[in-house]
């Protein structure tokens, strides 16, 4: 199952695109991979029982960290990628300390506001260059260790789209493998216990405040690196690059795939992204049909698409 998935992502899809000549699909699938990384983070906050509608803020912050470090300080992209994630994780610790005490709709509202705060900060701060944003960001350069080139400079490559596709999908696979390991370890069991009853968890010695912060920091880390790569692809970032809509979509991706399944957000992102595009032909009814389908899915499949029996013969995630 895992082998088939990896083969599809890394070999079959590129081959199909090559044969069909639909190069634009690289861009689409790269976006899906990056959005699912960010959604994977949101999923983890769901897993500790928090509705997170703030991932757009961290994607934006990660994007800006990368853009600023590259354009103003001459950092190589490959260094800014982890740094943007770490910056967002640190930011999540600071923000999370007060707000993770909240639950339910209160936490959701605060995180929703966070997305707007991030946009307004990007408009207001001197370093982010206001509404003009940061553009003409160079493509990722060469990544080499001790003179050994691991990844060639993207500008020298004949097919930049393919390079970004591989970058995004490799990170997606690594991120979800990491999440899968987490969910199936004691850490994941503790997250699940937090989701169900925090007081009970603390009664047998779990430092619930610390665990909430860790989960939120990992979530934001994933949002940050996804944002950073988006910036590298579009070579620009603006305060409106990750609006509230994105934050809501990250959450919907998790709902649709299934909150109980670690691979849910990946499937959810794929379906929502393509579903929306496929409905494009319905013109003015696109939003109406899209929303109706989403509502029906949430009503009739509250545990997500991965709860369908067809996926549960041999555990999809857990």
């Amino acid at each position: 199952m895992v082998g088939a998935f990896l083969l599809t992502v890394f070999a079959v899809v590129p081959w199909l695109i090559h044969v069909s000549g639909r190069w634009d699909f690289y861009y689409t699938l790269t976006s899906v991979a990056l959005l699912s990384i960010a959604s994977g983070g949101v999923w983890l906050t769901f897993y500790i029982g928090r509705i997170n509608i703030g991932q757009g803020a961290f994607a934006l912050a990660g994007g800006y960290v990368s853009a600023i470090l590259i354009t103003k300080y001459g950092f190589p992209f490959w260094l800014t990628l982890p740094l943007s994630g770490l910056f967002c994780a640190a930011l999540a610790v600071l923000i999370g300390l007060p707000i993770l005490r909240l639950r339910g709709v209160y936490f959701a509202m605060i995180t929703l506001v966070l997305t707007e705060v991030a946009r307004l900060s990007a408009l207001a701060l001197p370093i982010t260059n206001g509404a003009r944003g940061i553009s003409s960001i160079p493509l990722p350069g060469e990544l080499s260790i001790f003179g050994l080139t691991l990844i060639p400079a993207f500008s020298t490559l004949g097919n930049v789209k393919l390079a970004f596709y591989y970058l995004a999908t490799v990170l997606m696979v690594v991120s979800f493998a990491g999440l899968y390991r987490l969910v199936n370890s004691r850490v994941g069991h503790l997250c699940r216990s937090l989701q169900q009853n925090e007081e009970l968890a603390s009664s047998f010695g779990v430092n619930i405040a610390a665990l909430r912060i860790i989960a939120f920091a990992i979530s934001s880390f994933l949002g940050g690196i996804a944002g950073s790569i988006f910036v590298a692809i579009s070579q620009s970032i603006y305060p409106a690059s990750f609006p509230v809509n994105d934050s809501i979509n990250f959450m919907l991706n998790c709902f649709l795939g299934g909150l109980g399944y670690v691979f849910g957000p990946m499937l959810g992102t794929l379906i929502i992204y393509f579903g929306w595009d496929l409905l494009f032909t319905t013109g003015q009814y696109q939003l109406l049909i899209y929303s109706t389908i989403l509502i029906l899915l949430i009503v009739f499949l509250p545990n997500g698409i991965l709860s369908l029996p067809v996926f549960n013969r041999r555990g999809a995630g857990q």
């Binding site: 390991r181 987490l182 370890s185 004691r186 850490v187 069991h189 503790l190 699940r192 216990s193 169900q196 009853n197 007081e199 009970l200 968890a201 603390s202 009664s203 047998f204 010695g205 779990v206 430092n207 619930i208 405040a209 860790i214």
Partner: protein
């Protein structure tokens, strides 16, 4: 040997209301001590204060001579004072065994990284916890339902599951929150035996309870609260004959309480 748990002048005020006022008593190692009182006497507040789920306005709680009041609940649990909850507080979406396995948290010999990386120590720990959880559940009469999802368990089993979760933390003092509430006579008698069994494992027990009969039967000593004040402390026999207790409970002195 000094007392295991000492409660000194514990006071909790909510705004103008004094829920618990200047309560002091001590719990000796190996005993079963019950806190009783009519509705609204401040039992639950006192319970939460002792387990450090609430911060006292005044006074303190000492465990083995060390102040534990004001510490975070998970720190207090780490020191050996563990509380249980009423029956609806369990992990409903886990099986009975998963509930107890996860509750072995304090016994892990590695940190979260070790668990994440699934080190040999982490694997040994988890295997040992599964065995220990099965043992605890069997001991409390839940052996045959350990793989049921807790949500589907009959009510009668949930209280025992709550105690199993508490035992998994290997406490020195186990605080039980109304362990007999809502039980009929037979169930109560069984539960009384179960709690005695837990004490016989060397665990000191402090419980808050409403059910007079059960309390009289199980307790070594009893502390009686009324309107947040301690009005009596003593053996079940002493309490049964205490004028003030009878008055607090029944409003008039000629009634008989308990067994």
């Amino acid at each position: 040997m000094s007392a295991l748990l000492e409660i000194w002048n514990l006071t909790k005020r909510f705004g103008g209301l004094t829920a618990v006022g200047d309560v002091s008593f001590a719990v000796e190692p190996g005993e079963i001590l019950s806190i009783i009182g009519p509705n609204g006497a401040g039992k639950s507040t006192l319970f939460k204060l002792i387990a450090s789920f609430l911060r006292p306005t005044e006074g303190k709680v000492l465990f083995k001579g060390e102040t534990i009041s004001g510490l975070a609940p998970h720190i207090v649990a780490r020191k050996g004072v563990v509380r249980t909850f009423q029956e609806t507080t369990i992990f409903k979406n886990m099986t009975a065994r998963e509930n107890v396995v996860v509750a072995h948290h304090l016994r892990t010999r590695t940190n979260l990284w070790g668990h994440y990386l699934n080190t040999p120590t982490a694997r040994q720990d988890e295997a040992a916890f599964h065995e220990s959880a099965a043992e605890i559940l069997t001991y409390l009469g839940l052996g045959h339902v350990q793989d049921e999802v807790a949500r589907n368990l009959p009510h009668g089993y949930l209280r025992a599951l709550g105690i199993a979760i508490g035992l998994a933390a290997e406490p020195e003092v186990l605080l039980l929150d109304e362990p007999f509430a809502g039980m009929n006579h037979d169930e109560t008698m069984k539960a009384v035996e179960m709690v005695r069994g837990v004490r016989d494992r060397g665990i000191t027990i402090l419980l808050v309870e409403h059910d007079m009969q059960a309390v009289m039967r199980i307790s070594d000593r009893i502390v009686v609260l009324n309107f947040g004040q301690k009005i009596a402390e003593g053996t079940p026999a002493e309490i049964q004959n205490d004028e003030r207790v009878i008055e607090a409970y029944l409003g008039h002195a000629d009634a008989e309480i308990g067994v």
